[in-house]
């Protein structure tokens, strides 16, 4: 492939990665916007959900890449898998909020964040101990269709991923801007006490935020599995780092910021891997994270981030 084609390919890869990171970052930022809480557990909810997705697909009799579906059955299978995964992920998120985080709401400082570190650990190790350390082959019913695009290859899975991501993002945007509960969420994020005095049930809003955020993580997890054809107990860490950086880069607490940040980080990862060695990608991403937090904490699209209270 010539140079242009290489870059085009990396662009395609980057956009797919970006879609995934955007969804993951969105879920994270939804919770942060309301509670100002950095939820470490979010990224292992992502990891656990990839297993939910795997089991949902296996329930349909799909395993590995042996069974290939097209057309309506494919759509049906994917729809089923997404619904199941996202619902289970959402429930997991709500359970975490109820059991571990609600009691911490009154406590000042970083105590709640530390608790999420603990929860994250628990999820990680439960999966490790029950499922084992080896990567699992992910069921994938998508046919191996691809198109040539100026020297690069565009696969069906990429198109599907972009499509699903766009649908989810549009759906979320509509929910947040049009629905009653969605507006209540925005109101609570902007001024929780005033929201309460409008009669908004802040507890319900928080639970909704956790459900939605975790459901989005579930969607991202299923996408991960379908894209890479594997999952394992460690995927939370690496994807989490990138999604977190994406959320911060885009502006923590901002929905459009998470989307923008996700795409940028996805592109950086694929192009960065091309230009430098892949092993330095983590360092690059961490450096971006540190630089943004220190020099521009409000990110690209966020409001002024809170510094010292």
């Amino acid at each position: 492939m010539n140079l242009e084609a290489v870059y085009l390919q990396q662009l395609i890869n980057g956009l797919s990665l970006g879609a995934m990171y955007a969804l993951l970052a969105l879920g994270f930022t939804l919770v942060y916007g309301i509670l100002e809480l950095i939820n470490f557990a979010h990224f292992n909810v992502f990891m656990v959900s990839s297993f939910f997705g795997m089991w949902a697909l296996e329930l349909l009799g799909l395993s590995g890449q042996a069974v290939v579906l097209t057309g309506l059955p494919l759509a049906g299978a994917l729809l089923f898998a997404f619904i199941v995964t996202m619902t289970l992920a959402g429930c997991l998120g709500v359970a975490i909020e109820r059991l571990a985080l609600r009691p911490m709401r009154a406590v000042r400082g970083t105590a709640a964040m530390i608790t999420t570190i603990g929860v994250s650990y628990i999820l990680f190790n439960v999966v490790l101990l029950t499922v084992g350390a080896d990567s699992k082959n992910y069921p994938n019913p998508m046919p191996n269709v691809s198109w040539a695009l100026g020297g690069a290859t565009l696969r069906l899975r990429e198109v599907l991923i972009w499509g699903i991501t766009i649908v989810l993002m549009v759906g979320l945007q509509l929910f947040v801007s049009r629905s009653r509960l969605g507006k209540a969420m925005r109101a609570t994020a902007q001024d929780a006490e005033a929201a309460r005095m409008m009669g908004i049930d802040v507890d319900r809003v928080i639970v909704t935020a956790f459900f939605l955020g975790s459901a989005l993580a579930g969607a991202a997890a299923l996408i991960f599995g379908l894209y890479y054809n594997y999952t394992s107990f460690v995927i939370g860490y690496s994807a989490g780092l990138r999604a977190f950086t994406a959320a911060v880069l885009g502006g923590i607490g901002s929905v459009s910021g998470a989307m923008l940040g996700g795409v940028i980080i996805g592109l950086i990862e694929s192009l960065g891997g091309q230009l430098l060695a892949v092993r330095w990608t983590d360092v690059i991403i961490f450096s971006i994270l540190v630089l943004v937090l220190v020099f521009a904490p409000s990110g690209l699209l966020g409001r002024a981030a809170p510094n010292k209270s």
Binding site: K183, R186, A187, Q190, D191, E193, R196, G199, I200, D201
Partner: protein, 238 residues
């Protein structure tokens, strides 16, 4: 319509409201006056349910409000206009109004109330799609009142409506408050600006360090020199 019976509230171990009694009859404009740190804001918060009295009772339309959630109070007909407006800055004017009606269903009543708000505040209708945070102070105050009216309240609780507004705007706002009152809404107004408040109120209470030191018809209070002492913090050891 609303009554406080010997209400005590605490902030930690600080005794803020000390056995206060208020009475607000339906259809009145009652103002709560007082200087710095007198407990005015806490009174508002106690009515809305954000602060819970340690002792005493708050009764609304014959039913006690103790243990009643904030949302339920809004449903029963108490709506707040918050201190410094506190609109949702990154939501549009229309969305802010919608939030005011959060506890109510959509339908013809909602539309009717919206029309009412538009007729009271034509400027609000003009700025409907604008983000609330970009409005001027006076415009925000209009939206804040409108937002409260969208709950179709029986009792409108206003916390320092004159704060941060120019004198001309304050006049406008107080004009509107009188209009709303004539349309049938009872008004309870916490206000630092005694002059303005007494010019439209029917009755008033004066708070000083958590105790009611003066009360009565506004006309009487206007002539009472003790108000000045209460405001300037000349302490009366009761």
């Amino acid at each position: 319509m609303l009554a406080f019976h010997a209400v005590d509230t605490y902030y930690g171990d600080l005794h803020v409201l000390k056995g206060v009694d208020y009475r607000i009859e339906a259809g009145e404009i009652v103002s709560l006056l007082g200087g710095n740190a007198s407990g005015k804001s806490t009174t508002m918060k106690a009515i809305m349910g954000v602060v819970t009295p340690a002792r005493g009772d708050i009764v609304f339309e014959g039913a006690s409000l103790l243990g009643v959630s904030v949302a339920e109070r809004v449903r029963r007909g108490i709506a707040p206009v918050l201190e410094a407006r506190r609109l949702f800055p990154r939501m549009t004017v229309y969305e802010n109004l919608e939030m005011g009606a959060y506890t109510r269903a959509r339908g013809p009543e909602f539309d009717a109330d919206l029309e009412r708000v538009f007729s009271l505040f034509p400027r609000v209708k003009e700025r409907l799609r604008q983000l609330a945070g970009t409005l001027s102070g006076g415009e925000q105050q209009m939206v804040a009142i409108g937002r409260a009216l969208m709950a179709r309240p029986k009792l409108l609780c206003m916390d320092e409506p004159s704060m941060g507004l120019s004198p001309a705007l304050v006049e406008q706002v107080f004009d509107i408050i009188q209009t709303i009152n004539k349309q049938g809404t009872t008004i309870f107004m916490v206000e630092q600006n005694a002059n303005m408040a007494l010019s439209i109120a029917d009755r008033a209470y004066v708070l000083q360090t958590g105790q009611v030191v003066l009360s009565g018809p506004a006309a009487e209070l206007r002539q009472n020199p003790m108000i000045r002492e209460a405001y300037l913090g000349e302490m009366k050891v009761e």
